[in-house]
C-alpha cells in the first residue's frame, strides 16, 4: 500500500515571475534561519579552533589552536563513558517517550466523555517550568525521604529503598525516567495528530474484511503513521541528545559523573571551567553526531518505505 500520493511534478509551466514567487515563500524563513543559526554555528566552529580562556573574553584575543581542542576532548579518559551514557540516555528516553506517547495517542483516539480535556491535561508536564518539576522529581526520588521509595516500601517491593539518585546506574535510570516523563506530552500530541489524519473509512473497510484490532494496527495504522513516527523519532533523538536542564536539575551530572552526557560535558567545559574552546569542540561533536544519526535514520527509513 502506498502511504502517500506520489509527489507529482508541478504541473504548470515554469515562468520567470513564477519561479520568483516560489522562492518568496521560502525566503523569510531561510533568512531567519541563516541569521539565527548560521551565525551562531559559525561562531562556535571558530571558537572550537581557538584556545579560549577567561581572558579571551575581555581582550578578544584567543590564539589559533588547530585541532587541539578536539584532540583533548576525544582523548579525555572520561570520553568513552560520556559517549556511552549519552547513547543510553538518548535511546532510553526516546524509546520510553515514544512507547508511552503512542499508547496514550491510541488510547485517546477512542471517543469518550472528557477525552479531550484529559488529553489536554496530559500536556501539563510541558507547561511547568523545568526547574520546578525537575526539583519535584528530585524530592520524589530521594532515597531516604522520597515518595517513590515510600510507596515501594509500602508495597513491600523493597526493604531498604532504591538509591535512585545516589547509585551510579540507578541515577542514569532516574534521569531517563524524568526525561521520558517530560517528553511524553510531545510524543502523544504529534502521534495523536498523525492518527487523526488516517481516513476512518480504511478501518471500516478492514473491518468488513474481518480484520481484528491488531491486524488493522499492523496493516493500516502503522504504515500510515510511518512518516509521523519517523519525524517523531528523529526529532526525539536530536532533541534528547542535547538535553541539559533535566540532567543538571535532577542529578547535576552525578553521582561521580554517572549521568554526564556530551551536552552536560560541553556545558561544564564552557561554563564551569570556562574553557570555551573545548566546550565548543564538544558541542560541535554533538551537532555532527545527531546529524549523522538523522541522515542514517532517514536513509534507512526511505529504503524501508520503498521496499
Amino acid at each position: 500500500m502506498r502511504s502517500r500520493p506520489p509527489q507529482a511534478a508541478d504541473p504548470s509551466p515554469v515562468r520567470r515571475g513564477d519561479r520568483w514567487t516560489r522562492w518568496l515563500f521560502v525566503a523569510p524563513a531561510a533568512t531567519y534561519l541563516l541569521l539565527f543559526f548560521g551565525y551562531p554555528i559559525a561562531d562556535n566552529v571558530v571558537m572550537s579552533f581557538q584556545q579560549y580562556t577567561v581572558t579571551s573574553f575581555y581582550t578578544g584575543d584567543a590564539p589559533f589552536a588547530g585541532l587541539r581542542n578536539y584532540a583533548a576532548v576525544l582523548s579525555s579518559s572520561a570520553f568513552p563513558r560520556t559517549l556511552l551514557t549519552t547513547a543510553v540516555f538518548t535511546a532510553g528516553s526516546v524509546l520510553g517517550q515514544f512507547a508511552l506517547g503512542l499508547a496514550f495517542a491510541l488510547f485517546f483516539r477512542r471517543r469518550f466523555p472528557l477525552g479531550g480535556v484529559l488529553r489536554s491535561l496530559l500536556l501539563l508536564p510541558w507547561l511547568l517550568p523545568l526547574v520546578a518539576s525537575g526539583t519535584t522529581w528530585k524530592w520524589m526520588l530521594d532515597p531516604d525521604t522520597g515518595v517513590v521509595n515510600a510507596v515501594l516500601r509500602g508495597l513491600h517491593l523493597t526493604s531498604s529503598g532504591v538509591p535512585w539518585l545516589t547509585g551510579t546506574s540507578q541515577a542514569l535510570l532516574s534521569v531517563v525516567l524524568v526525561n521520558t516523563w517530560v517528553g511524553v506530552p510531545f510524543n502523544t500530541a504529534i502521534l495523536y495528530g498523525g492518527l487523526q489524519d488516517i481516513p476512518p473509512n480504511l478501518y471500516e473497510a478492514a473491518k468488513l474484511d474481518g480484520a481484528g484490532p491488531l491486524a488493522s494496527f499492523r496493516h493500516i495504522t502503522w504504515p500510515l503513521l510511518r512518516p509521523v513516527v519517523s519525524v517523531v523519532l528523529v526529532l526525539g533523538v536530536v532533541y534528547t541528545v542535547k538535553v541539559l536542564d533535566v540532567i543538571l536539575v535532577v542529578t547535576g551530572g552525578g553521582p561521580a559523573g554517572a549521568t554526564e552526557t556530551i551536552a552536560t560535558q560541553s556545558y561544564e567545559l564552557s561554563f564551569r571551567q570556562f574553557d570555551f574552546g573545548r566546550g565548543a569542540a564538544m558541542s560541535n561533536l554533538l551537532i555532527v553526531l545527531s546529524l549523522v544519526f538523522a541522515v542514517l535514520h532517514l536513509r534507512a527509513d526511505r529504503r524501508a518505505r520503498t521496499v
Binding site: G38, A42, D43, V45, V46, V54, Y58, P143, A256
Partner: protein, 417 residues
C-alpha cells in the same frame, strides 16, 4: 531521484564550507567600543551581584543606595543567581557592558583580574590595611588589590542541642569523636551528620576544612593526609551515620535536613543563622569544625564576596564606583552588614568589636581569623584543583574508587592532564 544520499552528502559539504567562509566575519569579540557617557556629570552607576534572596537583595540595595547618596550617585542594582554570575560577567566583558560596580565570589577574583577587566584599587587610595590577611590575599592579583569584601565567613559545625542532650553526646571536637557522636545520634528517619558533597565547587568548599586541618594541600592532592580526610567522609557514609544523598545535596538542602530534624549535626555557614532563628523550637549551637587530633585548630576556607571596579572608558564613573566601594567597606557599614547577615567584619579590629557585642559569633570569628583563601596557593589555577577535589569526593563516596585512587586521579585533573 538518483542516489539521493550521495548528492545530499555533497550538498552538506557545500553548506558547511559556506559556513566556514562566513566565519571570519563572525569573530572579533573584543573590538566593540564601550558604552556609557564619557563626559558630563555622572548621576547613576550600575552594580551587579548575586544577592537574589529577597531579604538580602533589599538589604544590599539599601546599603548601595545609602553609599551612593554620600557620593552623589544613584546605584542601579541587578542580582543574578550565583551560578550564572561569572558566565554573565564573561559575556559582559566581551561586549564591554560590565557594570560600574561588580561583586565577585572571592575565589573568582584572580581569574577575572587576570583578564585586565578590573581596575586596581590603589589608584583610588583604597588599600587593605587592617583587613584579615586571608581576604586581602583573595582580593589581590599579582601584588595589586582589585577587590575588597566588607565581611567574610567560613563554615563550622552546627548541631541540634536537644538531640545531643537526649543522646548524651558531647559536642565532637575530633574526627573520632565526630564519628562516634554521629553514630550515636543516628536513628530511624534521622542521620547523625550531614555535609554537602555534591559535584560542584560547593562540595569542594565543604571538604576543605577536613583536608586542610589534616595537613592536606591542594598543590599535592595524592597524599596520605588528603586520603585520610576523604576516608573520614567515606566512613561516615558507609557506617550509615551520614546519608548517601550528601552526593546531591547543596548547602541549602543540608540546612533543610537540619531544620526538619533529619540530621543532628551539619557543616554550614553563618548565613544560615537568620533562617535557623526563625524556628523557635529549634535549639542549635555552633562549634568549630572537628579536627583530626585534640588540640589542633581547624583551618577553614575563607568565604565572602569582594566588590570590584571594572575598567570603564568613563573615568568619572570609575571614580564614583570606587567611592561607593570604599563606603561599603567602611567600619560602620561592616558592622551593619555583619549584624544583618551574621558574618564577620573583615577588618580585624571591627571583628573584635562585633564579637564583643555578639558572643555567639565567636566560633566563626576565630575561624575566620586564620581562614585560608582558596586562591592563596594556586591563584588562577585553583578551579582545576577544585574540580579534581569534588570529582574525587564523588568517586570515593559512591564506592567507584578508593580515596587513594580518587585523589591520584584528582591530582591529574588538577595538573591538567
Amino acid at each position: 531521484m538518483t542516489s539521493p544520499a550521495r548528492s545530499s552528502a555533497r550538498r552538506i559539504a557545500a553548506l558547511l564550507t559556506g559556513l566556514l567562509l562566513l566565519a571570519p566575519a563572525a569573530t572579533g569579540c573584543g573590538d566593540r567600543t564601550g558604552s556609557g557617557p564619557s563626559g558630563g556629570e555622572v548621576t547613576a552607576i550600575t552594580a551587579l551581584d548575586y544577592y537574589t534572596d529577597q531579604a538580602e537583595h533589599a538589604q544590599w540595595g539599601d546599603l548601595l543606595t545609602a553609599c551612593g547618596r554620600t557620593v552623589g550617585v544613584r546605584v542601579e542594582q541587578t542580582s543574578v543567581p550565583g551560578a550564572s554570575l561569572v558566565p554573565k560577567v564573561l559575556q559582559q566583558a566581551s561586549s564591554r557592558t560590565l557594570p560600574d560596580l561588580l561583586m565577585l565570589d572571592n575565589p573568582d577574583l584572580q581569574q577575572i583580574a587576570r583578564t585586565g577587566a578590573l581596575a586596581p584599587l590603589d589608584g583610588y587610595g583604597i588599600d587593605a590595611d587592617g583587613f584579615a590577611p586571608g581576604i586581602a590575599s583573595a582580593g589581590s592579583y599579582q601584588g595589586k588589590l582589585y577587590g575588597l569584601a566588607p565581611n567574610v565567613s567560613t563554615v563550622a559545625l552546627i548541631y541540634n542541642k536537644d538531640m545531643l542532650a537526649e543522646a548524651g553526646v558531647a559536642v565532637p571536637r575530633t574526627w573520632d569523636e565526630l564519628k562516634a557522636a554521629a553514630a550515636t545520634l543516628t536513628r530511624p528517619g534521622r542521620y547523625g551528620m550531614a555535609v554537602d558533597a555534591n559535584a560542584t565547587f560547593e562540595g569542594t568548599w565543604q571538604f576543605l576544612p577536613f583536608l586542610w586541618s589534616n595537613g592536606g594541600d591542594e598543590r599535592q592532592l595524592d597524599t596520605p593526609q588528603a586520603a585520610q580526610a576523604l576516608q573520614l567522609w567515606v566512613d561516615l557514609v558507609n557506617s550509615g551515620s551520614m546519608s548517601k544523598s550528601v552526593l546531591n545535596w547543596t548547602q541549602a538542602d543540608v540546612h533543610d535536613q537540619f531544620v526538619a530534624g533529619r540530621t543532628a549535626m551539619m557543616i554550614n555557614g553563618p548565613w544560615r543563622i537568620p533562617a535557623l532563628e526563625q524556628d523557635a523550637d529549634l535549639h542549635w549551637g555552633v562549634a568549630p569544625v572537628p579536627v583530626p587530633r585534640l588540640g589542633q585548630s581547624p583551618v577553614t576556607p575563607l568565604g565572602g564576596e569582594v566588590w570590584t571596579v571594572p575598567q570603564n572608558p568613563s573615568k568619572a564613573r570609575q571614580q564614583k564606583a570606587a567611592q561607593v566601594l570604599a563606603c561599603l567597606n567602611s567600619p560602620s557599614n561592616m558592622l551593619t552588614l555583619a549584624q544583618e547577615h551574621h558574618t564577620v567584619p573583615s577588618r580585624t579590629a571591627v571583628a573584635a568589636q562585633h564579637v564583643e557585642a555578639n558572643p555567639s559569633m565567636a566560633a566563626f570569628a576565630q575561624s575566620v581569623a586564620v581562614a585560608r583563601a582558596r586562591t592563596s596557593e594556586l591563584g588562577v589555577e585553583w578551579p582545576k584543583a577544585a574540580t579534581g577535589i569534588y570529582t574525587a569526593i564523588q568517586s570515593a563516596l559512591t564506592g567507584e574508587q578508593t580515596p587513594e585512587e580518587a585523589l591520584s586521579h584528582a591530582q591529574q585533573t588538577a595538573t591538567g592532564r
